[in-house]
């Protein structure tokens, strides 16, 4: 019996890294969105920075999701 410790460590490192990165980026997007919403309801102003940050963050997360679908569907590779 031989255990693939390297593979196991790889799974641990990659999945922790991807999870933390995705959730942090998504949280930053939510932060931007929340700022923009607060500004709109406060004085009706458009918080361009907030919206821009949110858009970029959510786009990055969408890319991660697309890569996930790519990994799941065997026809793609």
């Amino acid at each position: 019996m031989q255990l693939d410790w390297t593979g196991l460590a790889e799974v641990a490192a990659v999945s922790t890294g991807v999870t933390v990165a995705t959730v942090v980026v998504f949280a930053l997007g939510v932060l931007g969105l929340a700022r923009a919403e607060a500004a709109r309801e406060g004085d009706g102003a458009t918080d361009a920075v907030g919206l821009g940050v949110a858009g970029l963050c959510f786009l990055a997360c969408a890319a991660v999701v697309a890569y996930g679908i790519y990994l799941i569907v065997p026809q793609f590779h």
Binding site: M1, Q2, L3, G7, L8, E10, V11, A12, V14, S15, T16, V18, T19, V20, T22, V23, V24, F26, A27, L28, G29, V30, L31, L33, A34, R35, E37, A38, C61, V65, G68, I69, L71, I72, V73, P74, Q75
Partner: protein, 380 residues
């Protein structure tokens, strides 16, 4: 169709029944936290999950080439043993469902097969080193990894959004949950439906109805996909309650972090060829997310019972599988009919008991306990 003997027909029906309990049992993995946080309405959640399971079943061409992934000696396996193993797996899945415990359907299937082969062909038919390598090590490692990843991610998500309006934050993470939960469902369909397809295909090959190296016929793919999708759609609400409400009180940032970590662990390990239990990964993610929010309450009693169920799943399914195998080997077709009738009776009994304290789409989020003693007196 003269290759389809009585035995083969029974195995196919039993395999589809297992597939159904598999979907039924595992809806919670993908959807429990989304239902608990209100990201998706319960009926919508199970519908999405069911459809994605069917889609996943059709998408994946990577059908299991072995029944057990090398855990038992496939050359010694007879259709009778497969039947006995499936019965063990189904009965254990139903029992844990009644108790509202998320346990691994894959472990139940492996356990049932191990027991059936051990009794039917002897201990040399079971590859115990493979059991450690393919089941025990991933079973310990994967929930830990998912838990730690979800813990860190949850902690950071709360730190980042601490000063924002809670309403906006909740809404944002709820939307994210829909995507992450759907990914878990799709991955589930591509993995778990394949196991049943593999079992049916290999039974057909051993009966001579299909040539060696034949892929699954379309009707096998379709029926396996539909069985798991239907099971998913009907939803094991008892387990959904435990995973969404019982382990910890999940809020949407936690749900998102838990699902993200589960998806990441499932996809990276599948990519690197590790077999693992979706259920255990998702439960680990939920516990980690519970710990990641400060002052969040993790119900260690429920978590403890769940881990106990994980430990018992394989031996318990093996015991039932072994008992069934001894009846089937000695009794032939008569033995199979006896076991099938007994299994049906036990299954009906479990469903009847569950009626005393039913959990369904409209009450799944009301409390965090899954009881057996009839409805508690309504409190205001």
């Amino acid at each position: 169709m003269d290759h389809i003997t009585f035995l083969v027909a029974v195995v196919i029906v039993t395999a589809l029944a297992f597939d159904f309990t598999n979907g039924f049992h595992d809806t919670a993995n993908a959807m429990a936290t989304s239902i608990a946080t209100g990201a998706l309405r319960p009926r919508t959640a199970v519908l999405i999950s069911g459809v994605l399971n069917v889609v996943g079943a059709f998408l994946s061409t990577e059908v299991a080439k072995t029944i057990s992934g090398g855990i038992v000696d496939d050359t010694l396996v007879t259709p009778g043993m497969i039947f006995a193993g499936l019965v063990g797996a189904i009965l254990w899945n139903l029992t844990t469902w009644l108790l509202g415990l998320p346990s691994s359907s894959s472990h139940a299937l492996f356990g049932g097969l191990i027991g059936a082969v051990w009794v039917g062909a002897g201990a040399h038919g079971v590859h115990f080193d493979k059991v450690v390598e393919k089941i025990l090590v991933p079973a310990v490692a994967s929930p830990l990894v998912a838990g730690v990843a979800a813990l860190i991610a949850t902690y950071l998500a709360y730190r980042i959004t601490a000063r924002s309006r809670e309403k906006s934050v909740t809404k944002g993470f709820r939307l994210g949950q829909i995507a992450s939960a759907s990914l878990v469902s799709l991955a589930h369909g591509t993995n778990d439906a394949q196991k049943t397809m593999g079992v049916i295909t290999l039974t057909l090959i051993s009966a001579g109805a299909l040539g060696h190296d034949a892929g699954p016929p379309l009707w096998v793919i379709a029926s396996a996909g539909l069985a798991i999708g239907l099971g998913t759609y009907l939803g094991g609400w008892r387990i959904i309650r435990t995973m969404g409400k019982g382990l910890t009180d999940i809020r949407s940032p936690q749900g998102f972090a838990a699902e993200a970590s589960s998806t990441a662990v499932i996809l990276t390990s599948a990519h690197l060829g590790f077999a693992l239990s979706t259920t255990q990964v998702c439960s680990g993610g939920i516990l980690g997310a519970g710990l990641g929010r400060r002052l969040a309450e993790v119900r260690w009693g429920t978590a403890g019972r769940m881990v106990l169920a994980w430990l018992v799943t394989l031996p318990a399914a093996a015991l039932v599988g072994g008992l069934s195998a001894s009846v089937v080997t000695h009794g032939g077709n008569f033995g199979i009919v006896v076991i099938a009738l007994v299994a049906l009776a036990v299954a009906a009994f479990i469903v009847l008991v569950s009626r005393r304290d039913p959990v369904h789409a409209s009450n799944v989020n009301e409390t965090h306990e899954v009881g057996l003693r009839g409805p508690a007196p309504a409190s205001a």
